[in-house]
Amino acid sequence: MFKDVELSREEMTSYKSVLAERGEDLTPDISVNILSASAWPSYPDIPVIIPQAVKSTLDRFESHYKNKHSNRKLDWKHALAHCQVISNFPNGRKELVVSSFQAIVLMLFNDFKINEKVSYEYIKEATGLRMQPYCPLISIANWFRQRPKN
């Protein structure tokens, strides 16, 4: 497992310099941990709809990786990911460290005006998440969104 973490770090460094050489956009900044399935505990696959902005970044990495290592297959485990989300609150900009699922829910609010309500059904449709396990996530995400002050 230690080796994989080291290797992932090297992969990311080389990936970023490749992008820089091509003059490509380096945002949003991603960091991918590549785990060899046999060395790590198994993690379930949880289907979710990734927002397009993030998806294209991941796809770009995936095609780079597949070109580099032609015989390998990548299985994304989004449930393990976490993100830093920058939010604009009335009191100023805040950086939130949240799980990927929480971030996906939060990002939905970008499509709505301030104080406009977002229905549970909408969230369910747009994220593709089976809601029951994630109710606490939704309420946390909502709580962040609706706080008028900090």
């Binding site: 497992m1 230690f2 941990n33 790590w40 505990p41 976490h82």
Partner: protein, 209 residues
């Protein structure tokens, strides 16, 4: 004698042992000692309300027992064996439910893994104050005024103590499963206090030292 042990009356125990030793009867204390260890240890392991504190309490108990063996019982061989045997007995005792089918109790393995996870994530901050090696020295030990606080060696010291406990546990597979899961999470979230501590722990687990 149970009362003396309950009160950790090291000097009294020492006197008791010395007196008996004069007649070569020191070993008579062994059965009572063993029983007290088994009773006290079982109490800790099966205390569901205080499950979170299990490992802390076991570490404290072991520390107390080791001190008593060294100081009060003059490192008596037979009593030393008795100490380790009874420790091993209670830590693997199953509860009397049909659900466990006489397999070894897996709770201590799980709780030890959790405790190690806390240590490796939090570093020395995760160590309960009572278990610090540089805390005020127990009765009967020499004072050492020049101990310098060193985070790495504190953590290593704790890991050593925990490993000492772990050696008594039969159900190693339970521990290993939890340990692997926790290690994976620490690595992926970047939540390790020290990469050195992680590697050293793994080495120790592999070699059993």
């Amino acid at each position: 004698m149970a009362d003396l042990l309950d009160e950790n009356a090291v000097d009294d125990l020492k006197s008791l042992y010395s007196l008996l030793s004069i007649k070569g009867l020191g070993a008579k204390l062994r059965p009572a000692f063993e029983k007290w260890i088994e009773d006290t240890g079982s109490g800790i392991v099966f205390d569901e309300k205080e499950e979170g504190a299990m490992v802390e309490k076991l570490l404290a108990l072991k520390k107390q027992l080791d001190l008593i063996w060294r100081v009060a019982f003059q490192r008596d061989d037979g009593i030393g064996h008795g100490l380790r045997e009874s420790f091993e007995t209670f830590i693997n005792k199953t509860k009397r439910t049909s659900a466990t089918w006489n397999t070894d109790n897996s709770k201590p393995g799980e709780m030890i893994a959790k405790y190690v996870d806390q240590l490796l994530r939090g570093g020395a901050k995760a160590i309960p104050a009572a278990l610090f090696s540089v805390a005020k020295q127990a009765q009967g030990e020499e004072e050492n005024e020049d101990i310098v606080y060193d985070e790495d060696s504190e953590v290593n010291n704790q890991l050593d103590q925990v490993l000492d406990l772990f050696r008594f546990v039969h159900g190693k597979a339970v521990f290993e499963a939890f340990y692997k899961k926790d290690l994976a999470r620490r690595l992926l979230m970047g939540r390790s206090a020290s990469a050195d501590a992680e590697r050293s722990m793994l080495t120790r687990l592999k070699t059993g030292t």
